[in-house]
């Protein structure tokens, strides 16, 4: 065919640069619709309710979101590879119970050992998920749905269905403060920053995006699909383990049902933050916005006395809205 010196390398070049077209404006509005609606909600709250926009309330929100932040970070890794992890809620319960069992006030094991064992339990389930998905080629939805039940069952067995209390003071101190910062919040900040560095600045991170973006192309480029898939589920389990231990310390007991339903909050945070469920698209910064939005929303709805039942409905609709926006945006790419 002819020289295409007139055809630029970029598709859709018909759209002028400079001024955004009405279509682009529409897409922009849609993409940030959720953020805009929530911002309006926050402004209304801040203006109408004195107790919302206070330093202590902000601190409360951060402590409340810390556990979900860890789970959402794990979910981000998993979803970026095109997978899903439904087991993290149950892992939270299991890790909490295991940590609590070994953190009894009897002094048999040190607090550090208890924490390590609790986190190890979560990591083990995560690694099991990863092995199923990466090596046995079980679809992620099924593998992690199965392990959601397995982990939950293990937690009930280990705790005999009872809350494990009588925890050592050092263990309980995990919900306290370090350098004036609440420990859960400090852990959250460290984890999020590390996750950002890994995803945006390392080879491993680049490979995660490649695996989710086009597994075939990644494989041809020499990316090992199996190890990367195995790794992200293990990371997700590990972070859920940390969240479980922290929540047990906050609840002053290991409770098998402590994380029930948390997997949905984690996935919601990632999706609201723009992590595409199709894989390969999104950034941890988005996830941070996602879990902050959910946290602020929970807190705000509580402050204005919306029944928790209605809160569920609101949250569900927001998740659907986020996925809808994602799919509309994808359609626009064709």
């Amino acid at each position: 065919m002819a020289s295409n010196s007139v055809t630029p390398a970029v598709a859709n070049a018909t759209e002028p640069k400079g001024m955004p077209s009405p279509r682009q404006l529409g897409r922009f509005a849609l993409r940030y619709a959720l953020v805009i609606i929530l911002a309006l909600f926050l402004v209304t709250l801040a203006v109408s309710n004195r107790s919302f926009l206070t330093f202590s309330n902000m601190n409360v929100i951060l402590i409340q979101v810390a556990a979900n932040a860890l789970l959402a970070t794990g979910a981000t890794f998993v979803i970026l590879t095109g997978g899903i992890d439904l087991s993290v809620g149950s892992i939270v319960g299991l890790s909490g119970v295991v940590g609590a069992l070994f953190a009894q006030d009897d002094g048999v094991l040190t607090c550090t050992e208890a924490v390590i064992l609790g986190i190890a339990a979560g990591t083990a389930i995560g690694a099991f998920n990863g092995a199923l998905v990466a090596f046995a080629r079980v679809p992620p939805f099924v593998a992690t749905l199965g392990n959601m039940t397995v982990a939950s069952g293990l937690a009930f067995v280990a705790s005999d269905g009872q809350p494990i209390s009588g925890l050592s003071d050092q263990f309980l101190a995990l919900s306290g403060k370090v350098f004036g910062l609440s420990i859960p919040v400090a852990v959250m900040i460290v984890v999020v920053v590390l996750a950002w560095i890994i995803l945006a600045r390392t080879k491993f991170g680049m490979h995660i995006y490649a695996v989710g973006g086009n597994p075939q192309a990644a494989r041809v480029a020499g990316v090992n699909l199996r190890t990367n898939r195995f790794a992200v589920y293990t990371i997700s389990g590990f972070l859920a383990g940390i969240a479980g231990v922290i929540l047990a310390a906050r609840a002053t007991a290991g409770i098998a049902t402590n994380g029930t339903g948390y997997e949905l909050n984690a996935i919601a945070a990632a999706v609201i933050g723009g992590i595409s469920l199709a894989g390969g698209r999104g950034s941890i910064i988005g996830t941070v916005f996602g879990f902050l939005i959910i946290g602020v929303l929970d807190n705000g709805l509580n402050i204005i006395n919306v029944s928790p039942f209605y809160q569920l409905i609101v949250k569900g609709l927001i998740i659907i809205g986020a996925v809808f926006v994602d799919s509309v945006m994808n359609r626009g790419d064709d």
């Binding site: 055809t7 390398a9 600045r201």
Partner: protein
């Protein structure tokens, strides 16, 4: 009869990059390779010519370790390959560029180029260095693309070039290219050739498949002609003529690629398009297609022809009005379009033309299932089979059984199936063809041309979008040239020339004036 100067001349063993001896492979008892023996040297470009289904892809898969041969030997650089494994082959320096593009659409251009070859320091990526390297790679072939653009913003041709760059820069010693130029335009083919010549100078052995004759002459040192799973001739390109290559490929001389146009068109318009505005394009388009007429749509890749055809078929949103056989046709109602007799063979048959995982029978009868339903709501399979057999015979599809999955057919036969499905319940009123012969070999091509021509002679109105100039010029009765979704001009049969079409396609007037 692999008697050839190249193969017979004694060569130092170290210079033999690929040495195949008596390779055979069968799938489900059907032999695909029947004893391939050939040697390909370092620093040479070798074209594998052959119709689709001749066994080229299978040979590529064996060399790249994706498929284990049933018998025979393969040696790479003198070492016998015992384990057929893709990673192992990659380690030996074999790189394959598949026909289907494999970009990572959401990642940036530089990331796409550098994936698998990351540069890190203290565990962190050296982004700047990687971006510079990516830019250098692109500049080496005269490609100037912003490395930070997401891959999905590039057009098909640029994407293809990036993919080729990616594969060739991976320390490859043997590069297999499966029709690398099928979506490239002239200038980009030149860029690709520059890459190939550089690789050749570095001692890389290149195996290349192509259906474009002019490319074979321009780039290759040797031609290996494959037919029915065997290499029937392997000779230096300079000793072969185009005619001889084609004759060997098909096993007969194709006297006429294009059938004589039997123009039997009436004045009766079949399709009347007025003020059609396709979503995403600004222009209003109006034209008519008469019964028995083949109306060609010319233009460059990305000119908006496919979008226009999809709008007429009802697949894509548009405004304006359509009339079929003098009656209004609602826009955006594919079901109605099918019912009224519009048939569509879309551009990318694997995406929207056929269902590769379904059988031939199911593919052919899918659009017409309503006409095979008994009053009880069940499918009349006997009638379905009878009608399918009938159209398969008419369209000369080469297949084993009706239950065979369409994905197992060669590209040419897949395309025939995509067309055959519209002939089940009689002939359509309007046949829409979008790049009907892309990636299809000469033999199947000429049969498709004959079929299209016959349909037109029977009074079917045909809309043919094609980027293949000879095809457009020799099949069409009239051509509309499209650019950015607008009709730039109309060329009558006696005005059909490549230059005139190109001038219009590039935004000039047909007679060379501005």
């Amino acid at each position: 009869m692999s008697a050839s100067a190249v193969a017979d001349k004694p060569q130092p063993a170290g210079d033999i990059a690929v040495d195949c001896s008596s390779l055979t492979k069968s799938y489900e008892g059907v032999p695909v390779l029947r004893g391939i023996s050939a040697r390909f040297m370092r620093g040479t470009v070798n074209v594998l010519a052959g119709e689709n289904g001749a066994g080229k892809s299978t040979l590529f898969k064996i060399i790249s370790g994706q498929v284990t041969p049933d018998s025979g030997h393969l040696a790479l650089f003198g070492d016998d390959v015992r384990r057929f494994d893709a990673r192992h082959a990659q380690g030996l320096g074999v790189s394959i560029i598949p026909q289907e593009l494999a970009p990572i659409p959401d990642m940036k251009v530089w990331q796409n180029l550098m994936i698998g070859r990351e540069k890190s320091g203290f565990g962190l990526l050296r982004r700047k260095q990687m971006i510079e390297e990516a830019v250098a790679m692109m500049e080496g072939v005269g490609l100037s693309v912003d490395p930070s653009l997401p891959m999905k913003r590039l057009n098909v041709a640029t994407t293809q070039m990036i993919e080729i760059l990616k594969a060739t820069s991976r320390q490859a010693k043997i590069i297999l290219m499966d029709e690398p130029t099928s979506s490239l335009s002239g200038r980009e083919v030149e860029q690709l050739f520059r890459v190939i010549r550089r690789l050749q100078a570095d001692g890389v052995c290149i195996l290349y498949t192509s259906h474009r004759m002019e490319e074979i002459e321009a780039i290759s040192d040797t031609v290996a002609i494959m037919r029915d799973g065997a290499i029937i001739r392997h000779a230096p390109t300079s000793t072969l003529t185009e005619r001889a290559i084609i004759a060997d490929m098909v096993g007969r001389e194709i006297t006429e690629l294009f059938p004589d146009r039997q123009i039997t068109e009436s004045d009766k318009p079949v399709l009347e398009v007025s003020n059609l505005a396709v979503k995403g394009y600004k222009s209003l388009v109006s034209f008519t297609v008469k019964a028995g007429e083949i109306l060609g749509l010319g233009g460059l890749i990305g000119a908006g022809r496919s979008e226009m055809l999809e709008a007429i078929y009802g697949m894509r949103r548009a405004t304006g009005s359509l009339r079929l056989d003098g009656r209004d046709l609602p826009l955006g109602h594919m079901k109605e379009s099918i019912k009224r007799g519009i048939a569509m063979v879309p551009e990318d048959r694997k995406i929207s033309g056929i269902l590769t995982s379904l059988s031939i029978l199911d593919n052919i009868t899918l659009p017409h299932l309503n006409s095979f339903v008994t009053p009880g709501g069940l499918l009349e399979n006997g009638k379905r089979r009878a009608q399918a057999l009938d159209v398969l015979k008419r369209t000369k599809v080469a297949y084993a059984t009706l239950g065979q999955k369409v994905g197992h057919l060669s590209g040419g036969n897949q395309q025939k199936v995509a067309l055959a499905r519209w002939l089940v319940t009689g002939t359509p009123r309007l046949l829409i063809l979008d790049e009907p012969t892309r990636g299809i070999d000469v033999g199947a091509r000429s049969e498709l041309y004959r079929l299209i021509n016959d349909l037109a002679a029977q009074g079917v109105a045909v809309l043919l979008a094609s980027s293949d100039m000879p095809e457009l010029i020799n099949l069409s009765h009239r051509v509309l040239v499209i650019r950015e979704g607008a009709i730039m001009g109309e060329l009558k049969k006696n005005e059909l020339e490549q230059e005139a079409i190109l001038r219009l396609a590039m935004g000039r007037s047909s007679n060379g004036k501005q």
